[in-house]
């Protein structure tokens, strides 16, 4: 009986297995080529903020719009109306109708973090000078762990976990803090290369 349990446990753990070098290389090629041919992305997202001491994760949702190479808008709809637009190295915030670009998020660290978030939308952030990278196969596709090498940065984010579906599209991004609290963003209804009205990226 206990042997059966052990086997089951191992099987469960094996739901996520380390990729071979060639598998990892193949994923990289796929993600990079997909990123190159992607001019726009829109998707719905659900964000879950996990803090260990809370009874429930804090959930919010909204719509993501991305225009290559680095225009990104996160528009939160629920439970609050808030959008943040990254454009020309600027951060434009619309907080329930109040527009603002002087924000605590405009500091260097957040800019760097948000650049990474932009990169993570296509998943193309395989820069080994910046990260220690590990690749895993999962039931639904794959997941790649990126641990920042920059010590200063690692104080904020211990690891990014980017999940890819079978088409090598990003299906989820998990940002894990050194305390192991994390933010998980899951994407759905992803539409690529459809024209996005300029108004979406206007401020």
């Amino acid at each position: 009986m206990s042997l059966l349990l052990l086997v089951l446990t191992i099987n469960n753990t094996l739901a996520q297995t380390k990729m071979s070098i060639s598998e990892a290389a193949a994923l990289q090629v796929k993600v990079k080529s997909l990123a190159k041919t992607t001019s726009t992305i829109t998707a719905d997202f659900v964000q879950k903020k996990h803090l260990d001491f809370l009874s429930n994760d804090i959930e919010s949702n909204g719509k993501l719009s991305f225009k290559s190479p680095n225009m990104v808008k996160w528009a939160y709809m629920k439970p609050f109306q808030y959008s943040v637009l990254f454009k020309d190295d600027m951060l434009y915030i619309n907080n329930e109708g109040e527009k603002n670009n002087i924000d605590i998020g405009s500091n260097k660290l957040f800019k760097q973090l948000n650049k990474l978030i932009s990169a993570s939308i296509t998943g193309d952030m395989f820069t080994t000078e910046e990260f220690n990278i590990s690749y895993f196969n999962t039931k639904k596709g794959s997941v790649v762990y990126f641990s920042p090498l920059n010590e200063k940065f690692a104080k904020y984010i211990k690891e990014f976990h980017i999940s890819f579906n079978n088409k090598s599209e990003v299906s989820a991004v998990k940002m894990i803090e050194p305390s192991n609290d994390y933010t998980l963003i899951q994407f759905s209804n992803r539409i690529t290369n459809q024209n996005i009205p300029d108004a979406v990226f206007a401020h």
Partner: protein
């Protein structure tokens, strides 16, 4: 001489106690515990959208309070996108910083936030003086060596005021409260340009 008299009168007026200024009458000098019910339920996660105006800047985020145990609270502030800006903890009167963004790591700011948040979460402040005016009650208390008055309207806590020399320094306004959950909180500072709005999510 006349000038001196006027000055003296002014001095006496301005030194009048806060309850007197508010036309409250002392009811008793009983020793008892005030009940602040707003962050008192350990089974709840208290999550608020925060809008903060400081000097001419404004920024926003998510303000989270969790009661971990009696006299034990965790207070976390994150951006809407989930980046943690600070993570504070109160155990009794001991204040601990679990995390703070280096840009916010300023003694003055931390000290202000410490006093504000302690007044917000302190569940049973001790009172030695009570005042009344009609249906309103006002209880005096001391938190972290600062002087506070708790205002109750129809038995509901709707305001806390921190005073110094009989003058209002910080005002906490509570509105839209039902089942001991307060939907809106406004913390106004009168000596510095800092205003914190909290809206229950």
């Amino acid at each position: 001489m006349r000038f001196l008299l006027i000055s003296l009168v002014l001095l006496v007026v301005s030194c009048a106690s806060y309850p007197k200024k508010k036309k409250f009458k002392q009811a008793s000098k009983a020793k008892f515990e005030i009940e602040n019910p707003y962050f008192a339920n350990a089974s709840l996660d208290y999550v608020y959208k925060a809008d903060i105006k400081v000097l001419k800047k404004s920024f926003s985020g998510i303000f989270i309070v969790k009661k971990l145990n009696n006299q034990h609270h965790r207070i976390v502030f994150t951006t809407e996108m989930g980046n943690k800006l600070f993570d504070f903890e109160f155990l009794n009167e001991t204040f601990k910083i679990n995390h703070i963004l280096p840009e916010m790591d300023k003694k003055i700011l931390i000290n202000i936030l410490k006093h504000d948040f302690f007044a917000l979460i302190k569940q049973n402040p001790f009172s030695e003086k009570q005042f009344f005016k009609g249906n309103s009650k006002m209880f005096q208390s001391e938190l972290l060596k600062k002087n506070y008055y708790y205002f109750f309207e129809n038995e509901k806590l709707n305001k806390i005021v921190r005073t110094y020399n009989g003058k209002e320094k910080v005002t906490f306004l509570f509105s839209g409260n039902s089942d001991n959950i307060v939907s809106r909180i406004n913390i106004q500072h009168s000596n510095i340009k800092l205003n914190i709005y909290l809206k229950k999510l």
